[in-house]
Amino acid sequence: MSIRVTPPKTGQLPLTRPGIGVAGKTGFWRTIKPIVDQSKCTRCYQCEIFCPVNVIRVEPETGVKIDYDYCKGCGVCADVCPVNAISMVEEVK
C-alpha cells in the first residue's frame, strides 16, 4: 500500500507542530518562585521527575537548574524534595 502526501492546492490545514512556549513565556504566571539550596541537593531527581513544565534539570555536577522563563511557580518541586532543598519565595518583578 503506497500513499502520496501532497499538500493541498487550496486553503490552510488545521495542523500544528511542536513548539516551546505555546502559551507564551509562562514564567510570567509565577507569583512564587522556587529557590534551590544546592548544598542540600542529593541529586535524587524528584523535582525533575515531577516538574509539570519540564523546566528542571538535575545536573550531577552542579545540581538543580531551573528555567525561570517557563517555570509557572506551582511549587511541586519544593513539595516533593525530600531534603527541603527547594523553598518557594515571593516573586519580585
Binding site: 488545521p14 513548539g19 531527581y45 515531577f50 519540564n54 511557580g73
Partner: protein
C-alpha cells in the same frame, strides 16, 4: 531549553534508580496547563517509554487545551484531536491503518479524561475493548469535568463538591472503570497514579509489549477542581494510595496483582487515615461523618474485591 540534547544519567548512589529517562524529550516548556497540573507529569512518563513513537488520540478534555494553540503544540509527538465520544474508535482506526502499512513501532494512545472515558466515551471504549484493537487507552482521572469548570462525572467520588453537585456533594459512588475493563477480558488492565511515576512507567513498558487492547486508569489530582494548593498535586496522589483509597494493581493474563506501592496497604493498619487525604481538599469541605464512614466502607469493599481476585 535543551529539549533536543541527550543527557546520560550517571549513577550517583541514589536510593532509587531514576526513570530511564527520555522523560526530558517530549514535553516542551511553556504549555497551557494550570500550575501544578498532573497531565504533563504523566506525559513525561509516556515520553520515557515511547519517545516520539506515539500518536495521542485526544478527545475534548483539559489536554486538548493544555497542548496549546495553533500553529504549535507543546508535545514533540503526534496528536489527533477528536470528538468527545470517539477516542477509542479513532484510535482503533489509526491502529489498523498503521498495522496495514507495516508501521509496528508506533504506539497509538487514546488519552482521555474521566468524562471522555467513563461517561460519553464509554460505548466506543467498550467497542474497542471487545474488538481487542491494538491500542493503549489511558484514562487520566481527575474525577470531574475540569475543562468545562468542575462538573460532576460518573468518576467523581462520593461526597465531592462540584459545580453540579454544589451543596450536597456527589451522592453516588465513583464508577470503577478499571473493573469494567477487566470484565471485558482484555489482555491488560492497570491502575496507576501520577504520584508513582516508576510504577506507571513499568506498566507502560509492560503494555508496550502486549498486542491488543490495554487500559490504564491513571489517578490524577487536579488542584483547581479539588481545591488544594497546586504544590500538593503529587502529595495528594500519594495520599490517595497511602490511605488505601486508590489501589494500584495490574490485571494481566487473567491474573490480578497488587503493585508494589500499594502492597503495604493490604494491611489496614499500615494505611493512613483517609482524613489526611480528604481534609486537604476543599471539595470535601462539607463532608459529614456519615459520608466518611460510607467512603471507608466502600474502600474496604474494594480491597476485599481485589484480594478475592488476586
Amino acid at each position: 531549553m535543551g529539549n533536543d540534547q541527550e543527557v546520560i544519567y550517571v549513577s550517583t548512589g541514589r536510593p532509587k534508580p531514576p526513570i530511564p529517562y527520555n522523560m526530558r524529550d517530549i514535553v516542551l516548556p511553556g504549555d497551557a496547563a494550570c500550575p501544578g497540573c498532573p497531565i504533563p507529569m504523566a506525559w513525561k512518563v509516556l515520553s520515557a517509554v515511547f519517545g516520539e513513537k506515539m500518536i495521542l488520540v485526544i478527545p475534548a478534555c483539559c489536554s486538548s487545551v493544555v497542548v496549546g494553540t495553533y500553529p504549535f503544540h507543546s508535545l514533540k509527538t503526534s496528536i489527533i484531536h477528536v470528538p468527545f465520544a470517539s477516542a477509542a474508535a479513532v484510535a482503533s482506526g489509526v491502529a489498523e491503518a498503521l498495522e496495514r502499512r507495516g508501521i509496528l513501532d508506533v504506539q497509538v494512545v487514546a488519552w482521555a479524561g474521566d468524562g471522555g472515558t467513563a461517561d460519553i466515551g464509554m460505548a466506543s471504549l467498550s467497542g474497542a475493548a471487545e474488538r481487542n484493537n491494538n491500542i493503549l487507552y489511558i484514562m487520566y482521572d481527575n474525577e470531574a469535568y475540569m475543562n468545562t469548570g468542575i462538573q460532576r462525572s460518573s468518576s467523581t467520588p462520593l461526597g465531592a463538591w462540584t459545580t453540579t453537585t454544589p451543596i450536597k456533594g456527589k451522592t453516588e459512588p465513583k464508577k470503577d472503570v478499571a473493573k469494567i475493563m477487566i470484565a471485558h477480558g482484555v489482555p491488560y488492565v492497570a491502575t496507576a497514579s501520577i504520584g508513582y511515576p516508576h510504577d506507571f512507567y513499568n506498566k507502560l513498558q509492560k503494555a508496550k509489549g502486549i498486542r491488543g487492547f490495554k487500559f490504564i486508569h491513571l489517578h490524577a489530582p487536579c488542584p483547581i477542581g479539588w481545591r488544594f494548593d497546586p504544590r500538593y498535586t503529587v502529595r495528594m496522589a500519594k495520599l490517595a494510595v497511602e490511605t488505601g483509597l486508590w489501589i494500584l494493581y495490574e490485571y494481566h493474563d487473567g491474573k490480578l496483582t497488587i503493585s508494589s506501592p500499594s502492597r503495604a496497604y493490604m494491611d489496614p493498619s499500615k494505611r493512613k487515615p483517609i482524613e489526611e487525604y480528604i481534609k486537604l481538599q476543599g471539595r470535601y469541605r462539607n463532608i459529614t461523618e456519615e459520608l466518611l464512614s460510607e467512603i471507608r466502607r466502600q474502600m474496604d469493599a474494594n480491597w476485599e474485591w481485589i484480594k478475592k481476585h488476586m
